[in-house]
């Protein structure tokens, strides 16, 4: 058991520390930012009012402590749910990686042929997850205490971090159970994430209408610690007990099943490839369609969520100076369409960045296929390099328009009942960002052609864009920094024409990048 734990540790010596360090860095960084953002009680009151409406509560959970606000409390209210989600994702990947993935790849078979108990692998994985979550808890708690921000308490910090750690551990147990139920790592991952989504939505409904669903969903429960205010500890304990029970069930299932089997059987496929699948385009689409569908649903839901809060937000914005600065409005501008539309374009630029993620993933698919050695047998047939790259590029380029359109559609569907939204305006703003997404696609194709080992560089541009767009005006960054990112160009709401200068420049850049990528891809070596 200890040996197995060391073995997991050896394999995790990079991944887990990176996660823990990033969580710690994010916690401290955000704590410092909150300390600066909310220097006066007035700032905090304004923020608390933004949060205290059903729509925001659906997004982030319960708000509390209006009577004695501190930056620490605000931070906990806004951040806890996102920390829980992040740590849950970490745990799900961690557990599946060491259990079902190893089993699927046949590595566990070799280990099980050694004098190792049937339960050693799942039990050691769960134990490792427990320790990792303990480390996360301690790191965040101590890190926050060290920032010494206003309203920081030792007890509150441990309650806050404890809720994160216990939720993480619960998701480790859930993932372990899913790894027993599904016979593929893909199935186990999807099952875990689907359950996480159900928990999040159940919590959202519970928090919006203040009912029991908030307590039934572990995600809602994790938010019921009211850290830095009431500091309630029992939800942490309940989460922990739930984790132990689910983990126990997972071990029980594991003990009684055959290696390689799941409880939910893998479905059988077709005997023949359809006509469509027999073309390069058909194959590329087949490999991308799952992604396409999942992101379509996700982005629609994301858009609808923002749409649902638009009424409250609009009302709030007209009374809040900070947001008026953020939106570039003069003092005293009238609410109504103008404010709403500025707000929508602010949301849409963020959405456009999110919508660009699947586009880049699809474009990078050709590279990941290459890495897995699955592209060689294709090029060994009578297929041209550029036609294969073209199929992926075309699918991704279609996605560039599709994903942002779907998001806009969700936004409209979510907020239609407020009567503040104009469908054609939303679509107009949304489509303005298509060239920006195409530039990201261009970057991806360019890297696939020129720097196949560094395709992940495109995510650096994402990070930069998020930073400048999200915090640019708040932190007072110079305009040129904004302009370096493809998402730094915004539609002129007053202008009637659609094709503006940035639109042309971005489109040209995108096309140039794609063409260069194609040229390089044709003449480079395939690398594994």
């Amino acid at each position: 058991m200890i040996r197995y734990l060391l073995f997991i540790l050896r394999r995790e010596r990079l991944m887990t520390p990176i996660w823990i360090a990033s969580l710690l860095a994010a916690s401290i960084g955000i704590a410092i930012a909150f300390q600066q953002l909310f220097a006066t009680p007035e700032d905090m009151r304004v923020m608390a009012e933004t949060l205290a409406n059903p729509a925001m509560q659906a997004l982030i959970g319960p708000t509390y402590g209006i009577d004695s606000l501190t930056p620490a409390m605000l931070m906990a209210q806004e951040l806890l749910i996102f920390m829980i989600i992040t740590v849950a994702i970490f745990n799900i990947f961690l557990v599946i990686r060491h259990t079902r993935t190893d089993e699927e790849q046949g590595r566990l078979e070799m280990l099980r042929a050694l004098p190792i108990g049937r339960l050693t692998n799942p039990a050691a994985t769960l134990l490792f997850a427990f320790k990792a979550n303990l480390a996360i808890t301690l790191a965040i708690a101590l890190g926050l205490i060290a920032t010494n921000m206003d309203g920081m308490q030792v007890c509150g910090a441990f309650i806050y971090a404890g809720s994160i750690g216990a939720s993480g551990f619960l998701f480790a147990s859930i993932a372990l159970l899913m790894a027993q139920l599904f016979s593929t790592s893909r199935g186990a991952l999807s099952g875990s994430f689907a359950l996480m989504g159900v928990f999040y939505i159940a919590r959202a409904f519970g928090d919006m209408s203040g009912n029991i669903l908030s307590y039934i969903s572990p995600m809602g429960l994790g938010l019921r610690v009211y850290s830095f205010y009431d500091n309630i500890a029992w939800p942490i304990l309940v989460l922990f007990v739930q984790a132990i029970i689910i983990g126990g069930i997972a071990l029980l299932v594991c003990r009684n099943r055959d290696l390689g089997e799941g409880i939910i059987p893998a479905s059988k496929g077709r005997r023949h490839a359809s006509r469509f699948l027999q073309t390069p385009f058909g194959l590329a689409w087949n490999l991308s369609k799952g992604n396409f569908l999942a992101w379509t649903i996700g982005l629609f839901a994301l858009g609808a969520t923002y749409g649902a809060v638009i009424g409250d937000i609009a009302e709030f914005v007209q009374t809040n100076e900070m947001f008026q600065t953020l939106l570039g409005l003069g003092q005293g501008d009238l609410i109504t369409y103008q404010v709403v539309e500025s707000f929508i374009s602010m949301i849409l630029v963020v959405m456009a960045m999110v919508a660009a993620i699947p586009v880049v993933i699809i474009a990078n698919k050709i590279r990941s296929e290459e890495k897995q050695g699955r592209i060689e047998p294709i090029f060994a047939r009578a297929i041209r390099r550029r036609s294969l790259l073209a199929t992926y590029t075309i699918i991704a380029a279609f996605g560039s328009a599709w994903f942002i359109f779907i998001t806009a559609l969700g936004l409209y569907a979510g907020g239609a009942n407020t009567g503040l939204l104009n469908f054609s305006n939303i679509v107009h703003i949304a489509l303005f960002y298509v060239p920006a997404i195409l530039v990201m696609l261009g970057m991806a194709v360019f890297l696939v052609g020129f720097l196949p080992k560094l395709t992940s560089l495109v995510w650096v541009i994402f990070g930069y864009s998020f930073l400048t767009v999200y915090f640019g005006s708040l932190l007072g960054l110079p305009e040129w920094m904004d302009r370096l990112s493809p998402f730094g160009y915004h539609p002129d709401l007053e202008a009637s024409g659609f094709v503006t200068m940035p639109f042309i420049v971005l489109s040209t850049t995108a096309i140039a990048l794609i063409l260069m990528g194609f040229q390089a891809y044709r003449s480079r070596d395939l690398v594994g």
């Binding site: 050896r10 099980r112 042929a113 108990g117 055959d258």
Partner: protein, 240 residues
């Protein structure tokens, strides 16, 4: 004296699909048993039951006189296993994996010198990450880990499918050496030359049933001058 492996009337059911229906198999101490059969015949399933990682639906499966499922951990201290399709952890080196397996094997293992000897014999670079290994090299890692252990029973499931002819020769020498030391080997293989050179006994399985079993000399005698290949081909093909 009890057989090293003694399987009686083993059946294994996966849902509605019957993978094994009444398999008998016996391996005595110090012998090499070749385990043959076409793809999908149930060789790997049988081996997995022997290793206690699949549970028999019915029948008795004894290794060193003990039930393979109930005493799996204890038995595995005396068993070394090499799968045909070796998959390793991409971010560990070959040397690390060999040490890992040896350490998990527990008991007294044969020590550093033994390990180095086999690494040299199989001409493996143990400092490379497993993700860079070819199929043959991954197989070498599994073979070296097994050979360097102090096991008494070697269960090898198509262990040579990725090896070059030179390495094949090395492998054969190692198996003959094991035999001399009185160790038992269950060798599943498709390479008839290898079987011819190494095996004392042969069991052929088809569609979950044993269709032929006997000593190598018996089989050769009964062949009436036909080549070994023809004998096996007829076993694989007929009764359709």
């Amino acid at each position: 004296m009890a057989s090293v492996i003694e399987v009686k009337n083993l059946t294994k059911q996966f849902g509605k699909f019957k993978a094994l229906s009444g398999v008998d198999l016996a391996v005595e101490k110090g012998e090499v048993m070749a385990f043959l059969g076409p793809n999908g015949a149930g060789k790997t399933t049988t081996i997995r039951v022997l290793l206690g990682i699949l549970r028999a639906s019915s029948g008795s499966v004894k290794v060193f006189g003990k039930d393979a499922w109930d005493h799996a951990v204890e038995l595995h201290k005396r068993i070394a296993f090499v799968p045909g399709d070796v998959n390793l952890w991409p971010n560990l080196t070959g040397g690390e994996v060999i040490d890992l397996f040896t350490s998990f094997q527990g008991g007294k293992h044969s020590g550093e010198r033994h390990r180095e000897r086999f690494i040299k014999m199989f001409n493996l670079d143990p400092t490379k990450k497993c993700r860079t290994y070819s199929k043959g090299n991954r197989q070498k890692v599994a073979l070296i880990s097994a050979l360097a252990s102090n096991a008494e029973l070697f269960i090898l499931d198509e262990p040579t499918s990725g090896l070059d002819p030179l390495m094949l020769k090395t492998f054969e020498d190692c198996i003959l050496e094991l035999k001399k030391e009185g160790k038992s080997v269950l060798l599943s293989s498709h390479i008839l030359g290898e079987v011819d050179k190494l095996a004392d006994h042969v069991t052929i399985i088809r569609e979950g049933r044993v269709v032929k079993t006997g000593s190598m000399t018996e089989i050769k005698k009964a062949a009436h001058g036909k080549s070994l290949e023809d004998v096996f081909l007829s076993e694989y093909e007929d009764q359709k």
